[in-house]
């Protein structure tokens, strides 16, 4: 590296010069004076939104993205056929209208979706967005050599599972030829009827198909750009997107900068610049907000009290944003003593949820006993009300299970990720179970990846685990987790009535009837304590008062508000 050629003496000179500059800089006040009174919108050069992301995005390629930061970026840089409104209903984005059976967008049997694309939609280099772009991107999402981890969401398309599974499994690997791969790719049920009409064919009715098309994985990318630049196509110099913003700078590990896309088909964003600064540490991010270096921040648990108490200078900047997520006790239904339904019920009843969220989590959650979180279709607060904290009832349940005062119970060990919050949670839960059930439990604090391996392969005994919505509909919360033998059925729950209800719901085309079926299954599964819900997390978000139109929804990615950056502006009046 060239740096070795510079003698230390030269560096010292540079350093001295730097110190001189520093003194000069400190002499003057660097904050610009606010305009008194101010107009309603700041001038264009001040239309800058400074945000924080926790880590360098692995990728901003829509077909490879799966983590929250990546989702935030892809949503600003790309537009799909559908998106969500503030109520989390699916609405058209690039699509001209919502496909329904009435307008012919969905076939009578629910197996063919025909979507018309807005002819005004353009890429950031001025070329029109076509149906072929969507066909290419969907096949790319399913390409086994891409190895995208969200591919399985689109297995309801004909030929999708076959194409994505062409490499086999680790136990039975396959080596398909180029020709075989090409023919499998050809067989995927997505086609361009004309330049602005794309047709999807499904193997079975899928009530959430439009929800899935609103996921970033289904966003279009440009074949010519991807093929020309290969792995480097997502760099600032090469990326072509179709979203409200384009990537103008990506200093790896440090920051990404977005600017408006001049060819975007929607109303031109007011923001002239969005900065995503990488700040790994939550407390550091909070300090950066306090020092006016970023405009939006998630409040770390340790600071929640400081910002939410009366008289806090931040009280008018605070939004409490519910997440579409639930934390629950996951007890392995196949491992003693949790193979006994009454033991699971006893554990679920023995924990004081108010003490948990307010005492341990500083209020960053709302107690719940039902699984599907509030704000989502299918939410029903009544479900699971029998698990409201009641020490006497819990003791009785445990006695009925044959373990009065915990006598005769096998050793119980929680597996948890080793971090500060979990140490507090562990302490609390241990005390609760001792106090309320007379049961001694142990804790095994492990590294994150080890925890995932243990839990996601069903080798745990009991854990506290979060489930967050991939899309806001119950099929992402019930069949995916509790149908017999489904991969995400971590606890090994199995009930044939539940399985039957899931099949019935999937085939039902009327939304109200379908939700009623899901509700019935939801109640059944919770009554049997397949899992026992504990709380719905909430995020405390601070937004500077001069940032206007900042709308937070339950399906936002890492940066809350990421679905609506195109409408945000900075007001001219000072804060």
């Amino acid at each position: 590296m060239e740096i070795r050629n510079l003698a230390p003496v030269k560096w010292f000179v540079v350093f001295l010069a730097a110190f001189g500059l520093l003194l000069a800089a400190c002499a003057g006040d660097s904050t610009p004076a606010a305009e008194p009174g101010g107009s309603s919108m700041a001038p264009p050069d001040q239309q800058v939104l400074r945000l924080r992301i926790q880590g360098e995005p692995k990728t901003i390629d829509p077909q490879l993205s799966n983590q929250a930061e990546e989702v935030t970026l892809t949503r600003s840089l790309f537009d799909g056929l559908f998106t969500y409104d503030e109520k989390l209903d699916v609405v058209p984005d690039l699509a001209v209208e919502m496909p329904t059976i009435a307008n012919g967008g969905i076939s009578e049997d629910g197996l063919t979706y025909t979507v018309k694309i807005n002819p005004d939609a353009m890429w950031s280099d001025g070329k029109p967005v076509t149906a072929q772009d969507f066909v290419y991107s969907m096949k790319r999402a399913l390409d086994p050599e891409m190895a995208g981890t969200y591919a399985s969401f689109f297995y309801s398309l004909t030929g999708a599972a076959a194409y994505n599974s062409a490499m086999g499994t680790p136990d039975e690997p396959l080596t398909p030829s180029e020709a075989e791969l090409a023919s499998l790719r050809e067989g995927v049920g997505v086609n361009a009827k004309d330049d602005h009409t794309v047709v999807y064919k499904l193997t079975q009715p899928n009530p959430s198909f439009l929800n899935q098309l609103a996921l970033w994985t289904a966003f279009p990318v440009r074949q010519d750009i991807v093929e020309k630049f290969g792995d480097k196509w997502t760099e600032a110099e090469t990326l072509v997107g179709n979203g409200p913003f384009v990537l103008s700078q990506w200093t790896h590990g440090e920051k990404l900068v977005l600017q408006p896309n001049p060819y975007w088909f929607g109303e031109k964003p007011a923001l002239s610049r969005i900065e995503f600064n990488v700040i790994a540490d939550d407390v550091a991010a909070y300090q950066a907000y306090k020092a006016d270096e970023i405009d939006v921040v998630t409040v770390p648990p340790a600071a929640i009290e400081e910002v939410s108490q009366t008289g806090s200078p931040f009280s008018d900047q605070l939004t409490i944003a519910p997440e579409l997520a639930t934390f629950a006790l996951f007890m392995n239904n196949n491992v003693a003593p949790f193979d006994n339904v009454m033991v699971r019920q006893a554990f679920g009843t023995a924990i004081d949820r108010d003490g948990y969220v307010n005492g341990v989590l500083a209020g960053s959650g709302v107690p719940t006993t039902s699984w599907i979180p509030p704000g989502m279709p299918g939410y029903n607060a009544e479900i699971g009300s029998q698990y409201k904290f009641d020490a006497a009832k819990a003791k009785q349940l445990l006695a009925d299970a044959g373990y009065a005062d915990g006598k005769g119970l096998p050793k119980i060990t929680f597996t948890m990720v080793n971090n500060d919050t979990n140490r507090l949670v562990g302490q609390f839960v241990q005390d609760q179970l001792k106090q309320n059930l007379g049961v001694d439990v142990g804790f095994d604090y492990v590294e994150l990846k080890e925890y995932f391996r243990t839990f996601a392969t069903g080798q745990h005994q009991i854990v506290i685990q979060r489930w967050g919505a991939d899309w806001p509909y119950p099929d992402n919360w019930l069949p995916d987790l509790f149908t017999t033998g489904t991969p995400n059925n971590f606890d090994g729950y199995s009930n044939s009535s539940f399985d039957a209800l899931m099949l019935q719901a999937a085939a039902e085309t009327d939304n109200a009837k379908r939700l009623a079926l899901y509700d019935q299954a939801h109640k059944l599964m919770i009554d049997e304590a397949a899992i026992v819900p504990l709380y719905n997390p909430v995020t405390y978000v601070l937004v500077r008062p001069d940032v206007m139109n900042y709308v937070i929804t339950g399906v936002d990615g890492y940066v809350k508000g990421d679905l609506n950056f195109d409408k945000v502006y900075i007001s001219g009046s000072s804060n």
Binding site: M1, F15, L22, T59, P173, A291, L448, K449, F455, T457
Partner: protein, 316 residues
């Protein structure tokens, strides 16, 4: 001398080979792999990922492939930063860490040596106690305490400096140095401990030299105090300091994880630690080897430089 250097390079190669093997074995024996998440990953997707990153090969072949590629300067792909070559991530991170480290090193050497010399020349007087106090504080207060203190006071409360970042895009020297308000605090934080080492070592070494007969001889033959100090005192006092200088330089330029984390500097230290928790096999192997290479090389350079400073040392 040439034979000595060749021999040392052979040892270097052997050391690196051993380190790579040990790292590879340890890395694969830790529970949990790179694809584990809070969702069950379908087996066909695990296979797709394994195939993409070569993990579907037997372990011994994965290792030999790594070695063959590493010899050509290709450390493979990062799993964590999808598809980015490990070599380029390391070089990007090293550039940042090295600039930060060299700045801190220069500051530490200048401040430390100055304090040490000053203290030795005023032995057991107020300046000596003062500089000893500063040096002891620098050595005793860990970087994360000092860093948090400096950051809270000068960045959050007073607002003189940035609380985070190392943005070389629009900095003092584009591509190399960040804005001044981002640069000062991390450099001072990183420099404090080595400055204290330099100060104490210089003081002790110089005091030792001042007692030597040849110093008296130099004065007796009529040399002025300045010449005695520069030509005889400091040159001889430099030898033990130099012993310390090598490892400190290597440690500083390969990055201080704590300072990088505290001030959100995108250096190699940060990338290294996250690679372990992410089970980013490519990055783990790459960064470990790179660290080992830099440290072994730095020690070699210091050993060779002895020969020039100390006439008693000659290598064969």
């Amino acid at each position: 001398m040439a034979a000595y250097i060749v021999r040392r390079f052979l040892w270097l190669a052997l050391t690196l080979l051993f380190i790579s093997l040990a790292t590879f074995v340890l890395m694969h024996s830790v529970k949990g792999g790179p694809w584990d998440t809070d969702r069950a990953v379908p087996p066909q997707q695990v296979e797709n990922l394994n195939h993409k990153y070569g993990l579907d090969q037997p372990l011994w072949r994965q290792y030999t492939t790594f070695l063959t590629n590493a010899l050509q300067g290709d450390l493979g792909l990062s799993f964590q930063r999808q598809d980015k070559p490990v070599t380029s991530i390391i070089l990007d991170g090293f550039k940042v860490s090295a600039v930060l480290g060299l700045l801190a090193y220069t500051l530490a050497a200048v401040v430390g040596v100055t304090l040490g010399v000053y203290a030795a020349l005023h032995r057991n007087h107020l300046p000596d106690y003062g500089s000893t106090l500063v040096a002891t504080l620098g050595a005793a207060v860990p970087a994360f305490v000092l860093g948090i203190f400096l950051k809270s006071l000068f960045a959050v409360e007073l607002g003189w400096f940035a609380t985070f970042g190392w943005d070389t895009h629009g900095g003092l020297v584009p591509g190399w140095l960040p804005r001044l308000d981002q640069l000062v605090l991390p450099v001072i934080t990183l420099a404090a401990l080595p400055a204290a080492y330099f100060a104490r070592m210089t003081r002790a070494s110089l005091l030792d030299v001042l007692r030597q007969d040849y110093m008296r001889t130099a004065r007796a033959k009529g040399l002025g105090p300045r010449a005695v100090m520069l030509r005889h005192g400091l040159r001889n006092a430099a030898i033990p300091v130099l012993t310390l200088a090598g490892p400190i330089l290597a440690a500083l330029v390969t990055g201080s994880f704590i300072v990088e984390q505290l001030f959100e500097v995108p250096g190699i230290g940060r990338a290294f630690v996250s690679s372990v928790s992410d089970r980013d096999y490519g990055m783990i192997m790459g960064t470990t080897l790179f660290y080992a290479f830099v440290i072994v090389l730095a020690n070699l350079v210091i050993d060779i430089s002895y020969a020039y400073v100390d006439p008693r040392v000659r290598y064969r």
